[in-house]
């Protein structure tokens, strides 16, 4: 079997696809997996164990030829034709598009795999998704809701993978190991810091980092810091390291390749990072991560994809902001909201493994930022749960909403006997592990509250039904038909009924499961 995975965004996006690529390899043993990605990502490809052939899409060259009036107007056309026909001739059995933009949609339409999961367009531009999960990704592209799934989970389920475990790894290279040995010379224990991000909006600022590291050093005199950066960030790294050393912080520069960074992460005590591709590398290592989620960083979709890590997100009304526009605030509010001493406290508590201290920090700074811990739920998807906050009905509702969505996307509503019992048991076990001390009575109250909320879906369906009936009456009278609105209402009714049906059945099973374990 020949499989092509398409990932035409940036390095971080490609690394987020790594679990899916390996999941496909396990699902289809003996298959050949190729990758279509941007040429700018090619230095990361050797870290992906299952990829056999990398088709490098030279976006820069296409764009420069398209923009250059001295080039024949059809030159990029013929270049793209040659490139795509080479891929098409491979006759892939399965194409998995993990990109979800129109460019990838046109290209996947052209590749014409026997089966395609993910966005692909026909010659008239009509989209097809190959899986309800990719349709969900499309419909929820701009939604910033709590029930949103992580991109890797959407890709995972959308690619037809059903396993609930996430065993994946990245390949260590000899050159990466040698780089790491050289950079950590003499250091057995160190903290990695990736302060620079790809967008100004996501940056915390040099001064904040320096103050935070100085405070961490004061709390833990034995701490040693490696300040990471890509080769093109060497000057910035040197400047930060110079300032830190002047402040008495034991820091040194670690300018390295991705292969070097991966090997450095293997032996690090901790990575403190913004929203960067390094955090996605770290997810494939035992290194714990504290992620600062600032600016447009949307951790629900792109947070560090592993269990046991922490995400810190300042509470500001403007965040997370849009990717495409610069920060429109007079000051970088989200960066200011996170004080260096707070991060120093968090780092200290994480290094000591002191959950009680973390709880206290989260509670005392709860008005400034949210701290979430990452998990894989029993249902096989990633979830970050707020630290230090008492369990509320809203949390329970969010988890049940998410599980309801998963069941619907997997077609449980079409089956006489869906996997409600299995999913409910997994979730009940997981909830008990998260809140072991919560009394049975509180669980029962919370469940009742969510149960009542379930009825709102019925109300939504009912309201839409009433409106639809009035439209039908009006169309009889006026002899005009509001087809667009009628169709919209019909979709709302169907959606609400589907959710109501699945959620009722899930709640029934969940009540039994919770009673059994709590």
């Amino acid at each position: 079997m020949k499989i092509l995975v398409v990932s035409l965004l940036r390095i971080g996006d490609l690394l987020m696809a790594a679990p899916v690529i390996q999941g496909l390899q396990r699902k289809y043993p003996g298959s050949r997996i190729d990758l279509l990605g941007n040429k700018s990502c090619q230095h990361v490809v050797p870290l992906l164990p299952c990829v056999e052939v990398f088709h490098a899409f030279d976006r820069d060259q296409f764009q420069s030829e398209l923009a250059d009036p001295d080039q024949p107007v059809l030159k990029p056309f013929f270049r793209l034709e040659k490139f795509m026909m080479g891929i098409r001739q491979e006759r892939y059995d399965l194409v998995v598009n993990l990109t979800h933009n129109r460019l990838s949609g046109w290209l996947c339409g052209l590749i014409d795999g026997k089966e395609t999961a993910g966005l692909h367009l026909d010659s008239r531009g009509r989209p097809a998704f190959g899986s309800p999960w990719f349709q969900y990704l499309n419909d929820r592209a701009d939604v910033r809701g709590a029930e949103i799934f992580h991109f890797t989970d959407i890709f995972w389920f959308g690619s037809g993978l059903t396993a609930t475990d996430r065993q994946w790894e990245l390949r260590r290279t000899d050159s990466g190991r040698a780089e790491a040995v050289h950079l950590r010379r003499g250091l057995d224990s160190y903290i990695l810091v990736q302060a620079f991000t790809s967008e100004a909006k996501k940056e915390w600022g040099g001064e904040s980092w320096q103050h935070a590291l100085r405070m961490i050093q004061a709390k833990d005199p034995s701490a040693r810091f490696l300040i990471m950066g890509a080769p093109n960030e060497a000057a910035r790294v040197d400047s930060v390291v110079g300032n830190l050393v002047d402040m008495g912080v034991q820091a040194r520069a670690a300018v390295c390749s991705f292969a070097g960074a991966l090997s450095l992460l293997d032996s690090a005590r901790l990575l403190i990072t913004g929203d960067t591709s390094i955090k996605h590398l770290a997810a494939a290592t035992p290194c714990r991560v504290i992620e600062l989620s600032l600016g447009s960083s949307d951790w629900r979709r792109t947070g560090v994809y592993n269990a046991g890590n922490f995400i810190v997100q300042p509470k500001v009304t403007c965040g997370p902001c849009s990717h495409s526009t610069p920060c429109d605030q007079a000051q970088h509010l989200c960066a200011l909201q996170l004080a260096p001493d707070a991060l120093a406290d968090i780092v200290h508590a994480v290094l000591k493994g002191n959950e009680t201290e973390l709880l206290a920090i989260a509670r005392s700074h709860g008005h400034k930022f949210e701290m979430a811990k990452t998990y894989f739920t029993g249902g096989g998807y990633w979830q970050a749960v707020a630290v230090g906050r008492a369990l509320e009905a809203a949390d329970l509702k969010e988890w049940i909403d998410k599980l309801t969505t998963k069941l619907i996307l997997e077609g449980a509503h079409l089956e006489a006997l869906g996997p409600y019992g299995t999913e409910a048991t997994r979730m009940g076990d997981w909830m008990k592990r998260q809140f072991p001390a919560l009394p049975a009575r509180t669980w029962a109250t919370l469940m009742q509250s969510v149960d009542r909320e379930t009825q709102t879906h019925h109300s939504v369906a009912l309201d839409a039904g009433v409106r639809l009936a009035s439209l039908v009456r009006a169309s009889h009278a006026s002899r005009t038909v509001e087809l667009g609105e009628m169709r919209h209402l019909q979709v709302r009714i169907e959606d609400a009924e589907r959710r109501l049906n699945v959620r009722r059945r899930l709640m029934r099973s969940l009540k039994d499961a919770v009673e059994a374990v709590i």
Binding site: L66, P72, V73, F77, M84, L110
Partner: protein, 215 residues
């Protein structure tokens, strides 16, 4: 030889023979080989990423010889408006320009008549101008270049009318209706497709994908 054209053979300071057309030197009078190396230096990245090289202007042939030396497997087509110049270049370099084909077009308007030229343009071609050659007849060579680039609606429609593959993809009336003064971009080609494109579906995918790259 055309009565209006005067082609002479001289010797450069480096001892290499060079050509002079109507009083214009077709290569450096000091060191034509060094000049050719400099010409190639500027084009090297573009040539490396191309399947074929279309050289506009044969000069005294040193740039073609240099191209042959560094890229012996490159498929090269050299275009000149003067057949005599091509003969003279062959006379100087003999087999040193073995991988270069030559095309002498009778006039700038006929440059796309050659199926060899059109074949080159249907690849990832590197278009390499040789400025000393073009200085002998700048207006005509400018038109040759413009026709090869197909950025002007008139020249693009000339191409489309010669290539069956594209005549159904880009209706000529759509091209003729465009602003003749502006240079065509991929967005214009996308516009020419219209709603009821009749070309090969693959070609429509390619144009639409490229349009996404300039959004």
């Amino acid at each position: 030889m055309d009565g209006n054209k005067l082609l002479e053979r001289l010797t450069s300071q480096s001892g290499d023979p060079i050509l002079r057309l109507n009083g214009r030197l077709m290569a450096s009078s000091r060191d034509p080989r060094k000049e050719a190396k400099q010409w190639l230096d500027q084009l090297r990245p573009m040539i490396s990423s191309a399947d074929r090289v279309l050289v506009i202007g044969v000069g005294s042939g040193y740039h073609l010889a240099e191209l042959n030396l560094e890229f012996p497997r490159a498929r090269v087509l050299a275009i000149a408006l003067e057949a005599e110049l091509i003969d003279a270049v062959r006379g100087i370099h003999g087999l040193n320009v073995a991988n270069a084909e030559f095309y002498a077009c009778e006039s700038e308007a006929q440059v796309l008549n050659s199926s060899r030229v059109r074949t080159f343009l249907k690849s990832t071609v590197c278009m390499a101008s040789h400025l000393p050659s073009q200085a002998a007849n700048p207006v005509a060579y400018q038109e040759v270049l413009a026709r090869l680039k197909m950025r002007e609606p008139l020249f693009f429609s000339d191409w489309v009318s010669r290539e069956q593959r594209f005549t159904s993809l880009f209706p000529l009336q759509a091209i003729h209706g465009s602003d003749e003064k502006s240079l065509l971009s991929i967005k214009d080609l996308h516009r020419f497709l219209g709603d009821q494109s009749k070309g090969h579906p693959e070609d429509i995918f390619l144009i639409r994908a490229l349009t996404e790259l300039v959004r």
